[in-house]
Amino acid sequence: MSGPGQLSRRRFVGMGIAAAGLGGLAACSKGSSSSSGGGKVTLRFSYLWTGQEAKALEKVIKKFNQSQSKIVVKGVSNPDAQAQLAAMTGSKGAFDISDNFGSATGAWAEKGVIRSLDDYIKKDSFDLGDFTDSSMAQCRYKDQVYQLPIAVNNSALFYNKKLFAAAGVQKPPTTTSEWAEAIGKLTKTDSKGRLTQLGLAGTSGAGADYRLLGVTHGGKWYDNGKPTPEDPGNIAGANFYVENVIKKYGIKEIERFVSGFGDYQSPQNPFYQGKLAMVVDGEWQPSFIKEFAPDLDWGVVPVPYPDDRPELAKTNLVAPGTFFIPSNSQHPDEAWEFMKYLVSKEAMLSFTKALSNLPARKSLLQDPAYKSITNFDLFLDLLASKNATAIPSEPSLAQYTADLATADDKITRMTKTPAQAYAQVAKAAKSYG
């Protein structure tokens, strides 16, 4: 489980280092001349993706440029989110179009940082119906569309088939009681009582993805724009993990065990190593496993639902990667033309396939092109489910997320019960304004 907020990890590999420069603010590059010869408009496209993903995106850009007589897109990979933000202040922007996550929509739209796309959508009768509802949910703020989604993340429960067989667990869990039982059977200790194998833990820490567990237990994090951390479902979700993992094996011992986990994005990932029998992780994992642990015998199922609430089956949290036009874009009209291409079926398919991310378009969910990725169909199926949901992109989301992360930490460390910890967040949330 990857902690609050599901972000594609790959996308942020370079980010820590970029942020470490701390000179992020100064790093906003001045765009070169905004229009070049031949009457073509040069569109500056700054994106957060790096490495392989940047390459995949450059391919898309190249194709667009070949099809164009009026616009030339110049792509720049800049994974520094602070630089991106800094470039959007002032009247002349350093780029005309860029990407972020749906989670940024509310905060930015409210402050006028990004353009509403409504006029363009109306003018071109652009069809939004093909985008999955959960992806679009994070692109809207106050009934206006501010971003368009391309690559979507969600997560599910990965399990190690070999360890399951060794522990005598016949099938992966579908309900929370089966899940609890499996966790017990798949956790092993040595003669000194030290953990050698854990049934379930976070991908790189002792805590769980409490946002996801909340919704799979029927919880909601926002209701009508107001934070609702104390929703009974949210508390039940956290309690599930506390009761079945933290309390049972002891936070000190779990932390000791977890601290020995190798790098997430390496063959030393604890799930690949068989140290973790189950883990909640994202749809990018199938291609990661292929790269780092090709011999791993694994399966993936939806995160289990509470026994008495079968209607919650296949509940999953969706986090779309999105494109936006900053308010200080020098060529918003051309940026819109390019954005239409970026989220077109053709570009979306080529980009998401290369990233092993999910496409935001319903019409692509059945596309045979994704068949080559092992078990990817489950994630496509989850995204298509009516129980695919997203945390609403409210202006207070960043602060709410930070306060929830503090509460999550208290829950994991058992200094507060989930009910107490989320009550504190509810109190703090009153001052978000």
């Binding site: 980010m15 470490a20 933000l85 940082v113 932390e255 601290s259 997320t401 992360a405 930490d409």
Partner: protein, 307 residues
């Protein structure tokens, strides 16, 4: 010639504008890039300002909100912890190192270079390096501790141990302080030691009555610089906690959320520039007060040589 006649005369008062013109690069820099922004930040601290829309006057609201913000209070505690424990211990370590380096042994310059070396390693590199050293299971530090039968704390995951870990990182770069102490040690007049020896002073007495008084001016300087640096500590804690994107992370149990980190989160993650400006001004005033306080007490314990 003009020079000849001028030489005999009383120098005429030159117009002030010439001097101003010559120092204008500095003055313009100060006003435009320092004083201006500093004053504007004072104004912002009384407003609600998110970088993108014009600031809205809210009076003392930002200051009042901060005093009720548990994260603000937590960050004050964390920073005070690092300053109150870290600075005196750091100075003591540096002094011990300097005393050791002052022993007349062979290869002294080499040892001095080795002690100073970590101080030139960039803090980013050092912090990432220490992340590995502190790894609870594979880290060198715990391997050493384990081999001599000491407990092996979970340095970077246990809120009780994260701040000591940061202190170790800052002490690692102690060479700069030690070198200044070493220079001060060389300045202690030899005849004082000789006189003390004649009077039958032992090693401790020689240190306490001769060496230490001579070192107090340097200690005052290092203390003030150390306190200011500790109150502004940012890079090591930020680098130990930051794991992804533009999210506010204060480490396990917010135990590494230092004052400047909370300021940074307010400013650039939550886009609450007004509150961040208020925090900056509180810090500025606190540093001013603490420095004055240390200077005031210094009359009691700092000895300047009477030459």
């Amino acid at each position: 010639m003009a020079e000849a006649t001028l030489a005999g005369r009383r120098p005429r008062r030159r117009p002030a504008w010439a001097g101003l013109a010559f120092s204008s690069p500095w003055i313009i820099g100060l006003v435009v890039f320092m004083a201006g922004p500093i004053l504007v930040s004072l104004y912002y601290s009384f407003t609600e300002f998110n970088l993108f829309q014009s600031p809205r006057w809210v009076g003392l609201d930002n200051y009042a909100t901060l005093l009720k913000d548990p994260k603000f209070l937590g960050s004050v505690f964390n920073t005070a912890y690092l300053a109150i424990i870290g600075v005196p211990l750091g100075l003591a370590f540096a002094l011990l190192v300097a005393l050791a380096l002052n022993f007349p042994v062979k290869g002294q310059p080499l040892y001095r270079a080795i002690v100073y070396l970590p101080a030139i390693v960039p803090v980013v590199t050092a912090s990432y390096l220490w992340r590995w050293v502190f790894n609870a299971q594979y880290g060198y530090l715990n391997q050493v501790l384990g081999s001599i039968g000491l407990p092996q704390p979970n340095w970077l995951a246990d809120p009780m141990w994260t701040k000591p870990a940061v202190l170790v990182i800052t002490w690692w770069g102690i060479g700069a302080t030690a070198v200044i102490y070493l220079a001060a040690l060389k300045q202690v007049p030899q005849q004082l030691y000789e006189a003390a020896a004649v009077d039958g002073a032992n090693g401790w007495q020689r240190f306490w009555y001769v060496t230490w008084p001579a070192l107090t001016p340097v200690t005052l300087f290092q203390l003030i610089m150390g306190v200011i640096a500790a109150l502004q500590i940012f890079a090591p804690t930020y680098l130990l906690t930051q794991s992804r994107g533009n999210a506010a992370n204060g480490g396990p149990g917010d135990s590494l959320l230092t004052y400047t980190m909370h300021l940074f989160h307010n400013a650039f993650v939550f886009l609450k520039m007004g509150q961040a400006a208020a925090m900056a001004w509180i810090l500025f005033l606190v540093i001013g007060l603490l420095t004055s306080f240390i200077l005031l007490t210094s009359r009691r314990w700092v000895h300047y040589g009477s030459e």
